[in-house]
């Protein structure tokens, strides 16, 4: 049984303008020691997805299941959820400055986290653990820095302190929502390295939300590509990059400067992402899709295996075998894009 299994999760928010369908039928699973990347552009529902798992979406209409260690997180009482959050599931947010309390010392916040869940741990023992954790995530002179305030830390150090806090109770699952987006690349490399080291050490499962396909290529084992709240493609890392099926995945990769030779025109995806209140009929991507067919605007394509590979799913009406696909669309034949 997988550590975390999401089954057909739907999340919507009633608003003045209409119902925002933020997540529409997402399913995936993560095992211990595994990293799942969730990729998508702004407004694709990737953050709402993980916040719902953590019980942080107030006022949302939720259906589906989020089975964690055999129990459904979505039906748990607040009290149960509170004990799961922190002890079993750690979370790292994008902006480390606004997720650390500016008026409390970094060490105090980690100690608080430990003692809130383990009332029997003494202050001194919790403090010693906070120092060890800060050392583990690469904060220099942790004995001294444990008494610093967040503003005395640099951006990268704050994010590492967040990781230390999220990992303080050895959670089985770590949810990282754009953990490196606000950071410079050299700091990003440090933070990703720390996360990978922690994962190896404690066999943690990681759900990593990012808009950066480069980060996926570096650290993910498998990835879910989301668009307009739905899963477009779901596959192991290398399949996402080399045997991709969905035109949206292709569009994302082709938009990257790294995928185009120098000084040539980039190949952006035409148009804008749709409004989540007023979604286009059929496949949500069809108004922007270069391979759009008549059927795409009428029927929603199911998320089904590509080339009989049960671990590679794509929601697209394009033929699922490489040979048939080549017959329909000459352009799509050699889909793997050579950089």
């Amino acid at each position: 049984m997988a550590l975390l299994e999401i089954r057909d999760l739907h999340v919507s928010f009633p608003t003045m303008d209409g119902v925002v369908q933020a997540v529409r039928g997402v399913s995936f699973s993560v095992d211990s020691g595994e990293t799942l990347g969730v990729v998508g552009e702004s407004g694709s529902g990737k953050s709402v997805l993980t916040q719902t798992i953590m019980g942080l979406t107030r006022g949302a209409r939720i259906s589906g299941q989020a089975m964690f260690q055999g129990r459904d997180l979505l039906t748990m009482s607040q009290k149960e959820l509170q004990s799961v959050r922190g002890t079993k599931i750690g979370m790292i947010f994008q902006d480390p400055l606004s997720s650390l309390h500016p008026c409390y010392r970094v060490g105090w916040q980690i100690i608080e986290m430990i003692r809130a869940h383990e009332s029997r741990t003494s202050k001194a023992a919790a403090r010693a653990r906070a120092v060890d954790l800060l050392r583990l995530v690469g904060i220099p002179q942790p004995e001294r820095r444990v008494d610093d305030y967040p503003h005395q830390f640099s951006g990268g150090m704050r994010q590492r302190a967040m990781i230390a806090m999220a990992m303080s109770l050895n959670p089985a699952l770590l949810i990282a929502d754009e953990p490196t987006t606000a950071l410079d690349v050299t700091v990003q490399a440090q933070v990703l390295q720390v996360m990978q080291r922690m994962q190896q050490e404690f066999d943690t499962a990681i759900v990593l939300i990012t808009h950066d396909l480069g980060v996926i290529a570096e650290v993910a084992d498998k990835a879910v590509v989301m668009y307009a709240g739905a899963e477009m493609e779901h596959a192991a890392r290398n399949e996402i990059f080399y045997q991709l099926h969905h035109p949206y995945t292709e569009g994302l990769l082709r938009s990257l400067p790294a995928y185009n030779s120098d000084r040539t025109r980039l190949q952006p995806i035409a148009g804008q992402p749709p409004s989540l209140i007023d979604l286009p009929g059929g496949c949500p991507f069809h108004p922007r899709c270069p391979y759009v067919m008549e059927r795409c605007s009428r029927e929603v394509p199911p998320l089904e295996p590509v080339e009989q590979n049960a671990r590679h799913l794509s929601a697209c009406w394009l033929p699922r075998g490489a040979a048939e696909r080549a017959a329909v669309l000459p352009r799509a034949a050699g889909r793997a894009i050579a950089p």
């Binding site: 653990r129 954790l133 440090q190 050490e201 396909l213 480069g214």
Partner: protein, 356 residues
């Protein structure tokens, strides 16, 4: 007409540190930009790269005189503009314009798009009334906006379209030099590509010269002819774009390039990352000698004592200059390098313990 459009000569910008303790008032400075020199040629794109706090945005603001420089010269089209009064500066503002990073913060939400883009015409008394409207709509069309949206508010546009409004405003008076300060950093990748293509098209169409500031190296590689890499207020390497990406000489350039995530799993797995220790030091008291020495894997005593200057290395093109005493040789493995300086001059990584 000279080949060089803009010359930046030894530009220094120091900001006094505000101290609440009166006694120590203004004896300390943030060394934001500390002696930067380079030329920008007509029609080229100079990429200006570096991490947060390296001074690249400050430099852009110094060049455009949004900030007064502490010392040095900025020469635009043969004329020193660094000492001009703001009145003398005004006609020259038509020659160079800025595009900002945040397409939300840089447009006044209470004003209609037509009036935002019309501002440059009004300020410089170029066109009025119907003529202004015609030229605004022409500019809107050039940047791929629907001219019929003249009367809309910024809030009615998406992020990518807002950035087009920013481009239209900068382009309105046909400047020679456009300084793009992180123009695509706030946009999603698919939209980012649209804006990069737009900037490339406009450059071709109007013969624009760009200074393109970005922290995303793959974007810079795509758009630039030459690249200047900054670290803590200094240019550490300046070279044609391919030279930087293929044979970077500065250890910092190598570390930075190796840290960029590659969207290609096979190459990503193969590549050795050089992980730098610690953080960028404070620009209030920058390190002595070479500013990178506390984090540099190749640091030696000389790097602590003497500041390296930008110069070409043997075997490189004359245009490829680097400020380093011990530049990286082709094929050298930096992950094996260890600094040979005293511990007090070095940022040391804490010991890793196995169990918390």
């Amino acid at each position: 007409m000279s080949d060089v459009l803009l010359s930046v000569e030894n530009v220094v910008k120091h900001f006094p540190v505000q101290s609440s303790k009166r006694r120590f008032r203004s004896r300390e400075f943030v060394h934001a930009v500390d002696g930067v020199s380079f030329d920008v040629r007509r029609g080229e794109t100079l990429g200006l790269v570096g991490e947060t706090g390296c001074g690249k945005s400050t430099l852009a603001r110094c060049i455009t005189r949004l900030l007064d420089i502490t010392s040095g010269r900025v020469v635009l089209d043969g004329r020193d503009i660094s000492t001009l009064s703001s009145r003398e500066m005004r006609p020259l503002r038509r020659e160079m314009q800025l595009i900002f990073q945040d397409p939300y913060g840089s447009l006044n939400p209470k004003r209609r798009v037509g009036s935002i883009i019309g501002d440059p015409f009004a300020i410089h008394g170029v066109a009025d009334g119907a003529e202004r409207k015609r030229r605004v709509q022409e500019t809107m069309e050039q940047v791929g906006l629907n001219p019929e949206h003249y009367n809309r508010f910024p809030a009615e546009f998406s992020g990518g379209q807002r950035q087009r409004i920013g481009v239209a405003r900068a382009l309105a008076l046909r400047p020679k030099l456009l300084i793009c300060d992180e123009p695509v950093s706030a946009l999603d990748v698919s939209i980012q590509a649209q804006v990069i293509n737009l900037l490339a098209d406009l450059q071709k169409q109007f013969g624009l010269t760009y200074i393109f500031i970005a922290h995303d190296l793959s974007v810079v590689r795509h758009v630039s002819d030459r690249v200047a890499l900054m670290y803590l207020g200094k240019v550490v390497e300046l070279a044609p774009v391919e030279d930087i990406f293929q044979t970077a000489r500065h250890p910092y350039a190598n570390a930075l390039l190796s840290a960029v995530p590659i969207p290609d799993p096979i190459r990503a797995d193969k590549r050795e990352r050089i992980i730098l220790v610690g953080d960028v030091p404070s620009p209030i008291e920058p390190p002595s000698g070479c500013r990178f020495h506390p984090r540099c894997p190749k640091a030696q005593q000389r790097c602590v004592d003497k500041e390296p200057t930008l110069s070409a290395q043997q075997g490189d093109r004359a245009e490829h200059t680097v400020a380093c005493h011990f530049p990286v040789r082709p094929g050298e493995d930096l992950t094996l390098a260890r600094p040979a300086i005293a511990a007090k001059d070095r940022i040391v990584e804490p010991d890793v313990v196995s169990d918390p």
